[in-house]
Symmetry: C2
Subunit: 448 residues, 2 copies
């Protein structure tokens, strides 16, 4: 018998050492700590020295100049629309929509279009540190297949609108098709669903009623465009004699399950209503400016305690699926609009793209922070390059200096998707040729 | 004698074939053309096939997925301030300036500080496609040495203000020191100078008088902060009983040699005055938002025919010296502010960072477009990556999709500075250790 007690190190899948770790559980940034990962889950966060004594990892990653953060969550996108990236820029909203986007969709939208477009979107998002996206588009079965192949987490929209498209004929048809897709993917831990009534101006009261019932029965979030443009509000006043948000409130839609997208034009009563009902907002600053919709009052929303996440919107109105760009723009706009340079500081912006978005999606116990028991959805950002020097505050650097090109490693549920800036599951040749074919097809329909 | 006339190909230094070329001389984008370069100058722009028959280049570069554009011009920066990148973020302007930036400058500013900071800035800017910067800082001799070593074009400020700093004691001392530096660099083709009165609130009437005389004698541009904040305007009303721009007008400062920086808060009379006097504006959108100064009325400026370029400002108020970011933000803000999604279209934004900026600096005959006889200051942007696919309009992609990380090649006066995203003249080790020393020094002064 020896007097020296030796503890056998615990065998685990992965140990990640990082110069800095922002867990997002608090604003504290850990220095020279490690994250232990096993079976897709975060086991512990502890000082590196201790971690190496305690664990025997199958794989080690040492991130000497990096900050490790939770995987980013894109709270609003139309992933398949990457195929229409830059199809029609610098155009007024109605020209953009009616003369370009809708005709292109009418001519080309199909399950194959959605599959290829979502594959491209997943590749772009993963490389940029996004591990989960909240999608709203047609053929969610094709988007689910694309996300699953990429190893990415997705919340897919069970979309509903009243008018027919190649995908479905009427609101019930949309909902029934979407619900069937949900059934088929129920056992997949990475694929989830939201009910996705497109917008108050495309969805009837009775459809909203059915959506509310479904949301309550299945505890599903409801993902809906809201108050994006002034026109939408005026049309609602004409058609329904009330503003869209008031109408949704009367229909019982507003609550902690509701994710309102855009929320640009709101009076203070409406902001109070969003706060008191516990609604979540997906702020999409690039899209709101590119389509000239306006400036969402995000600093005020945060003052009122409204839960706000960030979304890229689709690539036709952005044109990047880049949450680093949205972080930076959200921070800058809040400062410019309030006249207060301390508005929306960096830690709060980081919460928006991680824990706030997870909470909005009802996934706050599973993702959104680096916390023992949660899924190991992680993103490493290299702060060592020349453009990043010097670095006094790594979280401020995430928002104000880093870009998505600084993302070096990405894990989803413990599986490495991006390593040293390279996509691992990259069916690039096949994807390249698919994009080329779609580009040719869309180019033809684009010409006058 | 043969009936076949063979022309001996002309020996030249460099031939660059590119999928697309945006010369900026017009909005036309050339496809599959080449740029012939000899002795640092652009010799011809012609179809690739023709170019290879006519020229025998010492070096060939084939840019299959790229757009070749003029080197970008940063119309306003304080290059050395890269050493204070992110030193104090998310703070109100006066706290930022008085509690952090000024004390740090007072404690550390020196020729060595400016030399090291400008070296870092030049490396960052060159990698991001910027071939020329208009600088305003202390110790321009150190900035000139750094830019010259990097092979970069620079317009350095002969700075003037009334209060003493480690660099100079009073306005005449500043001016005399700056003028002596100009004398020393007169024969260098890449290093030029602007007179740089810091701002109306730091420069007296008599100093402005001397600057006007010097500007007229030497035909030098005058580079001056103007109407950045509301406070500055109110202080001027108190002290001078007029708004800063009115005061400068009465002092005879406004004219085609004048480059006003920021120009955020302007009434329509002032905009008309800027237009009628032929002033140039350096628009710095990121800095204006980060410091909560406000939104410059750029779309209105362009309507009035005011010549507008873009600037990054210093890295302490941005925190990137990245003109791709400024292009994108300028385009988005103009759309959001006017409510018109067609405001400041991509071609116009590209002119702002090239020909407009060159004209503002009095360098319109030398740089700013790809034109025979001009200096070969060129930038190639790779539009072939996955994040850039598909591509329907390469100039729209420059503004809306590309980032500085897409810059693959950069030439200044025909000399390659960046090749395949790698800085060629990279004294990285030495620079790395210099930055580390400055970071330590500044970190100490940053702690409470």
């Amino acid at each position: 018998m020896s007097h020296i007690r030796t503890t056998t190190p615990q065998v685990i899948d992965l140990l990640i050492d990082a110069r800095w770790i922002a867990t997002v559980e608090s604003d504290l940034v850990l220095t020279n700590h490690a994250v232990a990962v096993d079976q897709g889950r975060i086991l512990a966060i502890l000082p590196s020295g201790e971690a190496h004594a305690r664990f025997s990892p199958g794989k080690q990653v040492n991130l000497q100049d990096h900050i490790l953060i939770p995987g980013l969550i894109n709270l609003h996108t139309h992933a398949a629309m990457t195929l229409m990236r830059g199809l029609a820029d610098d155009l007024p909203l109605m020209d953009w929509l009616q003369k370009h986007i809708w005709p292109a969709e009418a001519a080309h939208m199909s399950a194959q279009f959605v599959y290829d477009g979502t594959r491209l979107a997943c590749a772009e998002m993963l490389k940029g540190g996004i591990t989960c996206f909240n999608d709203m588009y047609f053929y969610p079965e094709a988007a689910a297949a694309a996300a699953s192949e990429a190893g990415m987490r997705a919340m897919l929209g069970i979309i509903a609108l009243e008018f027919p498209t190649p995908y479905a004929s009427d609101a019930d048809d949309y909902l029934n098709k979407g619900l069937a897709v949900r059934e088929a993917w129920l056992k997949d831990p990475l694929i989830g669903f939201c009910l996705a009534p497109h917008a108050p101006y495309t969805v009837s009261d009775s459809t909203f009623d059915r959506i509310l019932t479904l949301s309550e029965q299945m505890n599903l979030p409801v993902h809906c465009h809201i108050h994006e443009t002034r026109q939408e509000i005026e049309d609602s006043l004409t058609q329904h004699q009330r503003r869209p948000l008031e109408r949704l409130h009367q229909l019982g839609q507003l609550g902690p399950n509701f994710i309102g997208v855009h929320a640009v034009h709101l009076d203070d009563n409406e902001l109070q209503l969003l706060a008191s009902t516990g609604c979540n907002i997906a702020h999409c600053p690039t899209s709101n400016l590119k389509l000239a919709s306006g400036f969402a009052p995000v600093a005020r929303m945060r003052q009122l305690g409204i839960n706000v996440g960030l979304g890229t919107d689709g690539a036709a109105s952005n044109n990047r699926l880049d949450l680093f760009g949205e972080m930076r723009l959200a921070s800058l706009l809040a400062k410019g609009l309030t006249g207060d340079a301390s508005a929306l500081p960096a830690h709060e912006i980081l919460r928006m793209v991680t824990l706030n978005a997870a909470n909005a999606l009802g996934l706050g116990k599973e993702i959104g922070s680096i916390s023992p028991g949660k899924s190991a959805d992680l993103c490493a950002v290299d702060l060592g390059s020349l453009e990043m020097r010097p670095c006094f505050d790594p979280v401020s650097h995430l928002v104000n200096v880093a870009g998505r090109d600084s993302v070096s490693h990405v894990w989803v549920a413990g599986k490495c998707c991006v390593e040293h800036k390279t996509l691992l599951k990259n069916n690039q040749n096949n994807l390249d040729s698919a994009i080329a074919l779609w580009q040719n097809a869309l180019e033809v329909c684009r010409l006058p």
